[in-house]
């Protein structure tokens, strides 16, 4: 059975949360026994070229769909590859094996998938992978760039695309209870809750040496994040107006592209002591990241906006250290709230106070039972339900 996974980012070297999720979905589909093919359109020039993926269309083409296309590139790609036959054909030709199931991650390429199904001679089922309630997340990003009216117009377009995806799907994967709740209102099929997870990691000697070289002998809190705007916004929302949580010998280590965005922000120097306490590493190899996750005293998740579940939350929980998160960051992992070592704070003062409290505690030592409980964040566990769910959809092809 062929399954096609459509996405707006490649997964050859998964880095950000979305890539990691798709990569694990692909693994899971393979485990179930499907022949999996991944295709799509590169949502940005920054992604490396990849087999099965059409290059990012030029801004001129995107602006023909929506102008300005800034922050609406994904939406514009979806409509371009649906309505412009040249582009539709280009992507269609990338698909080598005719699929019987198409998994569309995010609503963007759903219009393409629907046209593809329509023009196919095969009976094709479509699974919609909702990574979050997209229009809500987009609203918070768009409001900082556009006026109210323009923002609402754009949000409505995205919401319509999402609803269309939900209504026309034969199966839907959601990442959090909140996501399920919203999706249910429009869905015509059963929904599977498949939260984000994490893969077990081990530490290598080289990774440890590299990590030690970065943090020296500092006790540190760790923040792993991409430069995705909500990550940077959340960081400054929680650490604004002076940062007294860490002593001069402690550090807040930022791993990932968020570090550069934070360092370049004018907000950084407005918050006293913040620039002195942070240590931005940039992107790291997985070995070094694993060693840092092992050595951290605490992992912070200052996420204040966005839907879906945060892959970094799963990573933080599995690391076995203290986790300091906002309620939003714990979306999809609510069962861990109030478990040993997990602290929740939703305002800047609470967050900073909690961080100071945690840094003064002895290193967390989870009991065997508690560590076992944290195992449910592993991908094996979060995607467990996908086997039966996908098989059901497969069998419905014969109906």
């Amino acid at each position: 059975m062929n399954i096609l996974v459509l996405s707006t980012y490649p997964i050859d070297t998964p880095r950000h949360g979305g890539q990691i999720r798709v990569s694990n979905l692909v693994k899971k589909y393979k485990q179930i026994g499907f022949n999996v093919e991944v295709a799509g359109v590169l949502g940005s020039d920054l992604y490396p070229k990849s087999d099965g993926f059409d290059n990012s269309p030029s801004i001129v083409e995107l602006e023909k769909v929506i102008s300005p296309s800034f922050l609406m590139e994904d939406y514009a790609i979806g409509r371009l590859y649906e309505n412009n036959t040249k582009y539709f054909e280009k992507l269609s030709q990338k698909i080598k094996a005719t699929p019987r199931i198409i998994h569309v991650e995010h609503p963007w390429l759903m219009p393409f998938a629907l046209r593809y199904r329509k023009e196919s001679t095969q009976n094709i089922k479509i699974i919609y992978g909702s990574a979050n309630v997209e229009h809500k997340l987009k609203r918070s990003i768009l409001t900082s760039h556009f006026g109210n009216k323009e923002t609402e117009e754009k949000v409505n377009l995205i919401k319509a695309a999402e609803i269309e995806a939900i209504k026309k799907a034969d199966g839907i994967l959601c990442v959090s209870e909140g996501d399920v709740k919203w999706t249910k209102e429009y869905a015509n099929c059963p929904i599977l809750l498949a939260p984000n997870g994490v893969e077990q990691w081990g530490t290598s000697k080289a990774g440890s040496a590299e990590a030690n070289n970065i943090v020296q002998r500092h006790k540190f809190a760790l923040f792993c994040a991409s430069a995705h705007p909500p990550n940077v916004t959340g960081f400054f929302e929680m650490f604004k107006q002076g940062f007294g949580s860490l002593s001069p010998s402690e550090k807040l280590v930022i791993v990932g592209s968020a570090g550069a965005a934070i360092e370049q922000s004018a907000e950084l120097n407005k918050s006293a002591c913040l620039s002195e306490r942070i240590l931005s590493t940039g992107m790291l190899n997985t070995d070094c990241l694993a060693a840092l996750l092992d050595r951290a005293h605490c992992i912070v998740l200052p996420i204040t906006q966005g839907g879906g579940t945060n892959l970094k939350t799963a990573e933080a929980i599995w690391a076995g250290h203290y986790v300091l998160a906002t309620t939003i960051a714990m979306r999809g992992f609510e069962q861990y709230i109030n478990t040993p070592g997990v602290y929740i704070a939703d305002t800047a003062t609470e967050f900073k106070k909690a961080l100071r409290h945690i840094m003064a505690l002895p290193p967390l030592k989870l009991k065997e039972k508690e560590q076992k409980q944290r195992e449910s964040v592993l991908w094996n566990s979060t995607l467990e339900g996908l086997t039966g769910y996908a098989k059901k959809i497969e069998s419905s092809l014969n109906d």
């Binding site: 002076g242 940062f243 007294g244 001069p248 010998s249 918050s271 006293a272 002591c273 050595r295 909690a354």
Partner: protein, 587 residues
């Protein structure tokens, strides 16, 4: 074995570098030093200054020599008399400007006058910048250290009392290092004005001062606050930033005005004293709100009341942001001759002005304390004050409070003081009956009480995490732990903390799952000399996570306790070392 007394080190860096009359922070530092020396036994209070990144003992012999030198100079009358008196630099510049204006042709005078006015503004701005940093010119000769030593002056249980202009010095890192060595730092919070009211400061200094207070909270054992308001403001900052929840204590500032001594009053002051006047003692800057007094006087003059108005005397240096105000005062025909600014007056003159003033005013927009209000009350003067910040703490119910931006109300209250003898007499009587001045001895006694609490506090157990606080030669750091790497050698070394004389228990915890059969050697050193040495076998994995519990004795307060653990064979992952006092040493 007798416990040595803790030394109280007073950081006098600010006053040692100060060469003007001691006011404000400088006065607090000097007075505390003087009075604490009287309250503690000989040699228990010592002075230190900050030099080349360390605190060194300060024995002001040079100062004494200088005083002696001056004394000798006064005695020698051989020097020829000067034709003109020596003026201050500012007065000299003003004289040059006046002279220049007088000798240029009449046609060029308006242009010259304007040019000089703008030049004055520029110079004032430059001067204000210097004033803002509050760093006086350094008297290099006075900073010559009495003792040149690289060794730390602090021993176990010592206290460093630092109440100067500390935000101008890079003490932060050293304070943190000293705190880690168990030296107790007692600092002072005067106010948080640069954070709360940056608009009254010369530039945006919020982040700089926030950092200063965050670091201070982190490193201090106690922060002395000069008012409840300052304490409240500091605690709010700590709450907002997540900084360390440091102990605070409010202490009263002395408000006794220096007595008249044998200094001479100038003719200008003598003339002024002959007529009634209202007194405002404060640096002239935006926050001090001289503007409202000028507006009140302008309003009263406009109402045709100029004749009955007493002079309004501003005593203080010109700060920043008041050029326009001073120009308005200079040019306003309505208030012409009524508002006078005095600068560089001596203690005798200040005391005479206080004594003769009809009333004192203090319209400041915010204060951490408000010493002039206390001084005025101490001298039984009727006082009109702003109701902002800590001023109601100082004035209690003995002062007439006025909203600082309400010019009409200030005009009304000033007129009441002038017209209503009964009101004036009643207020003065109430002040004399109810206001108790605070002398600097009381200030020092309050501080002593706080210091004694720290000195007598029980020893707090010290915890060290190997991975963060110690170093290794053969191991690797893994978070809080140091793990051996299958070779013999120095696995952990460090501590480098101070420790008082006494008997202690050392507990070392490790990760039992990491253990491999073998042996290790441990040595504990105080001031480099071994106080304990032992050899032991690595326990089996089935034992709990305590590698060792051992007693050791320290004969004298030590400046540096170190520990070394050599691994002979096997494997260990050391996590934590804890030192607890098990036997107190009598004091």
């Amino acid at each position: 074995m007798t416990k040595e007394k803790a030394t109280i080190w007073i950081n006098v860096t600010t006053s040692a570098h100060w060469n003007r009359s001691a006011v404000g922070v400088v006065r607090v530092e000097l007075k505390l030093k003087e009075e604490l020396k009287k309250l503690y036994s000989t040699n228990q209070v010592k002075q230190c200054i900050w030099r080349n990144g360390v605190f060194i003992e300060y024995i002001p012999t040079v100062q004494v020599e200088k005083a002696a030198e001056n004394k000798n100079k006064d005695k020698s009358t051989k020097e020829p008399a000067l034709i003109y008196p020596i003026l201050s630099r500012i007065a000299a510049l003003e004289s040059i400007a006046i002279g220049l204006l007088s000798i240029v042709p009449a046609k060029l005078r308006p242009f010259t006058s304007r040019s000089l006015f703008y030049l004055k503004r520029k110079l004032n701005a430059l001067r204000a910048k210097r004033l803002h940093t509050n760093r006086p010119p350094i008297r290099e000769r006075l900073t010559v250290p009495a003792k040149k030593t690289e060794q730390s002056i602090f021993k176990a249980q010592d206290i460093l009392l630092s109440v100067g202009l500390d935000w101008d010095y890079a003490y932060g890192e050293e304070f943190h290092r000293l705190k880690n060595k168990q030296i107790k730092i007692v600092s002072c919070c005067y106010d948080l004005i640069p954070i709360l009211y940056p608009q009254y400061c010369i530039s945006d200094v919020v982040a700089r001062f926030s950092k200063y207070f965050i670091d201070l909270a982190e490193n201090s054992e106690l922060i002395l606050c000069i008012s409840k308001q300052s304490e409240k403001d500091l605690k709010q900052l700590i709450h907002n930033t997540g900084a360390a929840n440091v102990k605070t204590q409010v202490f009263p500032l002395g408000d006794t005005v220096p007595l008249i001594n044998n200094e001479q009053s100038s003719n200008e002051i003598k003339q002024l004293l002959a007529e009634p006047f209202i007194l405002y003692v404060s640096t002239i800057e935006r926050r001090k709100n001289h503007q409202i007094l000028y507006q009140a006087y302008h309003l009263l003059c406009k109402q045709g009341k100029k004749q009955k108005l007493p002079k309004l005397v501003f005593v203080g240096m010109t700060g920043w942001g008041v050029d326009e105000l001073l120009k308005d005062i200079e040019l306003d025909p309505l208030t012409q001759g009524l508002i006078i600014q005095l600068n560089h007056i001596n203690d005798t003159e200040l005391r005479s002005l206080y004594d003769a003033a009809l009333c004192c005013v203090y319209p400041s927009l915010y204060e951490g304390w408000g010493l002039p209000v206390g001084e005025a009350l101490a001298l039984g003067k009727l006082t009109l004050s702003s109701n902002r910040g800590s001023l109601p703490e100082v004035g209690q119910n003995l002062v007439t409070y006025i909203e600082p931006w309400n010019a009409d109300e200030w005009a009304k209250q000033i007129e009441k003081v002038i017209d209503n003898d009964k009101y004036r007499d009643e207020m003065i009587a109430a002040i004399k009956q109810n206001y108790t001045p605070t002398d600097w001895k009381q200030t020092a006694e309050a501080v002593k009480l706080a210091l004694d609490k720290i000195i007598n506090a029980p020893y707090s157990p010290q915890k060290f995490y190997a991975g963060y606080d110690l170093t290794t030669e053969i191991g690797v750091y893994n978070g809080a732990q140091i793990e051996s790497q299958a070779e013999a050698g120095l696995l952990i070394t460090g501590l480098k903390t101070t420790i008082p004389a006494g008997t202690y228990q050392l507990t070392i915890t490790d990760n039992p799952n990491y253990r491999k059969d073998g042996s290790y050697q441990l040595s504990i050193k105080a001031e480099g000399a071994i106080t304990k040495k032992l050899k032991s076998q690595i326990p089996s994995k089935t034992n709990n996570g305590t590698l060792l519990t051992e007693e050791f004795k320290i004969e004298q307060n030590s400046k540096e306790l170190t520990l070394e653990l050599y691994l002979n064979s096997g494997a260990l992952s050391i996590e934590m070392l804890e030192i607890n006092e098990i036997k107190k040493t009598s004091q």
